[in-house]
Subunit: 256 residues, 2 copies
DNA sequence: TCAAAAATCTCATAATGAGAGATTTTGTTG
DNA sequence: CAACAAAATCTCTCATTATGAGATTTTTGA
């Protein structure tokens, strides 16, 4: 994980920005990354010139406008967004809810698209904000499909959370619970992420039948009965499988 | 502009992605960038591991999820977004319009925040999509405040566009028109970017009184009279100056 | 199962990043 | 406005390390 060459070291500068620390002074960056002064400034210059960073007088260094530009491009190229949004609209048309597609990458869950048909959508996880792994239907819908060797360490690392939402006391118990989720084809969570909200999620697969995303509907708990949840679950599952199928389709190459 | 060292060469890989070309094959990247095969694959590995790129089976290489994550952070750290959005809400509450804040960087204009109070907002320039320089109130509101040496080459490069919207036939004429904009404090454009839409924009300044952004209200041409446009212009100008002032404020450092 | 394409590895060589310390630039104070 | 302090850049040598031709391995598609 530690940068071994100068190319990774430049990129490592971008890695230190987080929700907890959005702004850095050069001095702090030197300390954090262990780079010498000239080296750090060299890196900063390159990253600023490319627009990845910008520095304001009073707040040190922050992420820059190139990031914004690239995110726009991502929205136009990400197959999950392109194929997902139409289905999300279907779901929000059918139910008064928030519907999202979330990508699973590097042990993180990241919302990439969301639609809403409620007045005040209760989305504390908008596009780009990583979600917790131990709680919520989304995480579970994906974990249930991961191969064992990948799954077990994940469970162990999040056992406290998993236990607190009632998935089981030991790793073995959790595995059993996840097996049920796998069988059902979708996961349900009652107020695990947002109090009062029910989450219903189903996994999306890549062309190797490996889960790489999840479709989730979040709906106010007061609006649904158990039977309706099953109905929505089936719908969410259908949508997730549709998106999976579209993803695996060979698409037209852009004009040569 | 051409990469001179390996650090810039890695980043140059990210630069080739554009709205016209969202996906690249390694083969094409080699050709485009002139890198040898092992070198390119080395770069790709690093960029993929960091999440800046991802490769899908059928579409070659595209921008990756780390970009999405960083854009989220940008939305939470960009002073223009943080200070701008409340004012945009003011504007959209007062008029049935779309209100935006756009950053000026590297000869580009980039929307960073937008709010809308119309049914079907006509925004062909959402967050992250660079706008044309030669047309529209936004570009003009900023250009009018640029120092001459910076401005003149810009005008020359976009003279065709500038002429077509009636700013003047020669560079000197355009300069004269811009001087008027500068005096007025805001720029107005009738259907230059979107047919039927009036754009009203005023510049935002950094702490050096250099324009670094613009506030723009877009409103249906049928909804406003000349007098109202002046009124809105004054409001937009006020908001732009407010944002300028907030930007220049020393902010609390995040807890040490 | 096998052939073609894609990606990775090996290794000698030259290129080029690293960093200590000096220097310049920028911002802030009386 | 001057003089100081802090921030950023420059210089230059040295050793590290990125490079690419070609071979090799892995993956993909038939």
């Amino acid at each position: 994980m530690k940068p071994t060459n100068s190319l990774e070291r430049v990129l490592a500068v971008l890695e230190v920005f987080s929700e907890e620390r959005l702004e850095w002074t050069p001095e702090d960056l030197m300390r954090e990354l262990g780079y010498s002064r000239p080296t750090l400034y060299r890196y900063l210059k390159i990253l600023k010139d490319a627009g990845f960073l910008m520095s304001t007088r009073y707040s040190g260094v922050t992420l820059g406008p190139k990031v914004v530009e690239m995110d726009y491009l991502t929205r136009r190229s990400d197959p999950l967004v392109l194929h997902g949004v139409p289905y999300l609209k279907e779901l929000t048309a059918a139910y008064s809810c928030t519907a999202m597609v979330l990508r699973w990458y590097g042990n993180k869950i990241l919302c990439v698209a969301s639609e809403s048909s409620t007045k005040n959508p209760i989305s504390s996880y908008p596009r780009g904000r990583p979600m917790p792994l131990g709680r919520g239907a989304i995480a579970r819908s994906i974990m249930a499909l991961l191969p064992r060797p990948r799954l077990v360490p994940l469970i162990e690392r999040n056992l406290a959370d998993l236990r607190s939402v009632g998935l089981g006391d030991t790793a073995a118990d959790v595995l059993k619970s996840l097996k049920k989720v796998r069988k059902a084809g979708f996961a349900v969570a009652y107020g695990e992420v947002t109090p009062g909200a029910v989450g219903i999620a189903a996994p999306v697969f890549d062309d190797r039948h490996y889960p790489n995303a999840s479709v989730c509907v979040t709906i106010a708990g007061t609006l649904v009965t158990g039977a309706q949840i099953d109905e929505i679950g089936a719908e969410v599952r259908r949508v997730a499988l549709q998106i999976s199928a579209n993803q695996a389709t060979v698409r037209q190459k852009s004009d040569a």
